[in-house]
Amino acid sequence: MEEHSQQDDFKRDLLIYFSIIALVGLIIFISHLQLKTLGIFLIIPIACTEAGILGFYFMHLMTKKRTVHLLLLLTVIVFITLLFWPAWDVAYSPRTPSEFTVY
């Protein structure tokens, strides 16, 4: 257990708080630019970063053991694959006869 003084902890928590808020502000700005696909690829990673910061510092994920980290990472990778592979397949499979291409 780290033996920080209450003041140090409080300052650190405030820093994290304001950095998450800054990131929220950033994604609102990016959303305002209406960047379509690029926007998605910017906003989601930044949201993940915010979540990561929250998880690591507020939920003390930083102090958990390595196995927990690896398991979470594996879960995240599986989850992302499962989400994007079907989405890609649905997006690029032909839906009307005119969309059939000849390979």
Binding site: Q6, D9, F10, D13, L14, Y17, I20, I21, V24, G25, I27, I28, I30, S31, H32, Q34, G39, I40, I43, I44, I46, A47, E50, A51, L54, G55, F58, M59, K64, K65, V68, T75, F79, L82, L83, P86, A87, V90, A91
Partner: protein
């Protein structure tokens, strides 16, 4: 209740090899299942959006300023929770209660702002049945709001009638509050994704 801590080990002190006490282990498992629950709804959102021909520009329908304020509100409540827990560990009950009341107050502020948003939608005849986007928006934020209400109930218990538990076993009470805190931070985490996905994309 000390009979229970004698009967079942690792309620209060953590087990050496896992580094966790039972309730903390349990809440992480519960949070994993919640990730899968909200995750399935996010994946439904993605499949519905990718598979549809047209999708509204979300920031036109949504009230982004209220959403942004709500993000700050919930994040603040998370910080207050941490202060409450730190005060509890330092045996400062007055400070613990003060910060816990702030957590609950901010949770109510969140719900009220959400209520205002829903009311704005309804007065523009924007109901769940109006479009798939609105349907998924109302469902996901509604489910999230139910989780907030659950959190309010638990937090109120631990600053109200549940305080007697602290007299029975101080460390166990601190652990209980810590576990409630993990749940609360998770609710905040889900909101971050909800706001990003349903308001900004």
């Amino acid at each position: 209740m000390s009979q229970e801590t004698e009967f079942i080990p690792y309620i209060v002190k953590p087990r050496e090899d896992t580094g966790l006490y039972n309730a903390k282990f349990g809440i992480w498992l519960f949070l994993a299942s919640e990730v899968m629950l909200f995750g399935s709804l996010f994946s439904a959102y993605i499949l519905l959006r990718v598979g549809s021909f047209t999708w509204p520009v979300q920031s036109d329908i949504q009230n982004v300023p209220i959403g942004a304020i709500n993000s700050v509100v919930l994040l603040s409540s998370s910080i207050f929770f941490i202060r409450a827990w730190v005060a509890l560990k330092a045996d400062d009950i007055a400070k613990y209660k003060k910060f816990m009341y702030l957590v609950i107050l901010f949770a109510f502020i969140f719900l009220s702002l959400k209520g205002v948003e829903y009311y704005q939608h309804f007065s523009h005849h924007e109901y769940p049945k109006t479009s798939v986007f609105l349907a998924i928006y109302f469902l996901m934020t509604g489910l999230h709001a139910l989780h907030i209400i659950g959190g309010i109930l638990v937090n109120s218990y631990y600053v109200g009638p549940g305080l007697y538990l602290r007299d029975q076993n101080k460390q166990w009470f601190i652990n209980r509050v810590e576990v409630a805190g993990l749940y609360w931070h998770f609710v905040d985490l889900v909101w971050i994704f909800l706001f990003s996905t349903l308001y900004l994309l």
